[in-house]
Subunit: 268 residues, 2 copies
DNA sequence: CGTGCTGTTGAGGACGATCAATGACGGTGG
DNA sequence: CCACCGTCATTGATCGTCCTCAACAGCACG
């Protein structure tokens, strides 16, 4: 199997890039970890109708939008959110490369329409028509992978729920950061700097911006975060200790064997 | 199609009951709302290896248990929970008749092992071996229904997350109660009394028992809850207003047409 | 060179946690 | 039948975390 290259039209930047979305890309690693086969990735990419670039702060999916297409995040960071009556924003989940932005909408149409997806950085998104989904789901391994993706989403919410109900602001923020680090690592992104603002953290953790700021300063004084403008983790172990974070729920074990072999064939 | 009757051995009460788990039962209504076909219910019930009775406060699934079988709640109320390091209990979700207790464990084995399920009332549970699941999933409508069940679980967590992050204790408790009322109604249970204690509400809402008590007393003074020993809702509309509850996420629309026809054939 | 977004700091106040004790109810055994 | 026990509900008092309001600094952008 050869690496798959496509041309991406990035609307804001208004230029054309040749980018690899193949087996070594976040989406490839994601599908792999969900137990899909290498062919599944190829078939998924063939079903892509077009690629979109979205600028930071723009909506990937508007809250009221009636969706007839599914979107997959290929590059950049987004969040799914809900508006509060006071105009505020509750971040339900961060989304990283390889994540399906609105799988929930395909599986349960109409009863989750109030959820929007917003770009936190400049992003690249793949768009697939609903009418092409049947073909994808006829492949048992791919269907199972999508089911697992749903379950993983549920597991992530579940963890967030416990962490949010539970502890102090310090624990909650630490947990949130650990989750993002682990999820990004699972798709091959090892950067220690996290691509979102303190305000985003506040909306996700259910805390005020002010208190998040103070919490982050505490983490900095503990030499867990770097004392810079951005959110950058320097002592991951300590962060996990503070959060009491057990990342096993992020990873899907026992399902990777086949892939590991095949990946070696193609990438080495 | 005839109504399906099975004999249930209830271990604690030590007696044998003839009970109907057919199309009109909570499980039947649940599958219907998930878009399954009538035959799917029959086939699911045929796959049931045995039925178990569990007494209130006992574990349906122990936290460390290595599961090779899936459990479906037929009668009674349970909760899925996680232990906190201090010994406390975080209730992740209440479970009502028709709910799958541990679908997550089947889809994502090994990475959710710390979750237990506890009976809050006396319960009846159906047990299905994992090795019989392949046969069930070979039916596309049933497989889709199980996928939707996963998504519904995620949606419930998502709502809980927003409500927990957001408001005051009053709103959170009100939301939690609304969710349970709506979910029970969706499977044909219209009782206004909810079958769990204030301590359970506290563990689910992430509040202290003391404060839950005071919150419930506030709701009683507003004539939303009945001034009795139990948790009984008398003014549902007002409760939903307090919680800003929109129950649409509980129901799965657009998927019921086939069933509605068939159900009339069998039940009228 | 303003305008907006993000980050930072200070002060006051509210909500909910914690500790502690008591009451009400049902079951169990002497 | 009553004493005892465990569970659940209730009440009071104190304390801490986190919210709110308010102001300001740094930086990117047009």
């Amino acid at each position: 199997m050869q690496l798959i290259s496509v041309y991406v039209y990035v609307s804001r930047m208004e230029k054309v890039l040749g980018v690899d979305w193949g087996a070594g890309s976040p989406l490839g690693l994601k599908l792999k970890s969900l137990g899909a086969e290498v062919d599944d990735l190829e078939i998924l990419l063939q079903a892509v109708k077009y690629y979109v670039g979205v600028a930071a702060h723009d909506n990937v999916i508007r809250e009221a939008e009636a969706g007839e297409q599914m979107k997959v995040l290929l590059a950049g960071t987004t969040c799914s959110y809900k508006r509060k009556e006071d105009g505020g924003r509750t971040i339900l989940s961060f989304q990283h490369p390889g994540d399906f932005c609105d799988l929930h909408r395909y599986v349960l149409p109409d009863n989750e329409s109030a959820i929007g997806v917003q770009a936190l950085t400049d992003c690249t998104v793949a768009v697939i028509d609903y009418r092409d989904m049947d073909g994808l789901l006829s492949r048992p391994t791919l269907a199972a992978a999508l089911w697992r993706a749903s379950m993983l989403e549920a597991a992530i919410y579940r963890e967030r729920l416990t962490s949010t109900s539970r502890g102090t602001a310090l624990e909650r923020v630490a947990h949130l950061l650990c989750e993002q680090l682990a999820r990004r690592e699972a798709v091959g992104i090892h950067a220690s700097r996290l691509p979102f603002s303190q305000a985003d953290v506040a909306d996700a953790a259910g805390l005020s911006v002010v208190h998040v700021n103070r919490t982050i300063q505490t983490l900095r004084s503990l030499n867990v975060l770097k004392a810079s403008h951005a959110i950058e983790v320097v002592d991951r172990k300590q962060l996990m200790r503070i959060a009491e974070f057990d990342g096993r729920y992020i990873n899907v074990p026992k399902l990777v064997s086949k892939w590991t072999v095949r990946i070696k064939e193609t990438r080495d």
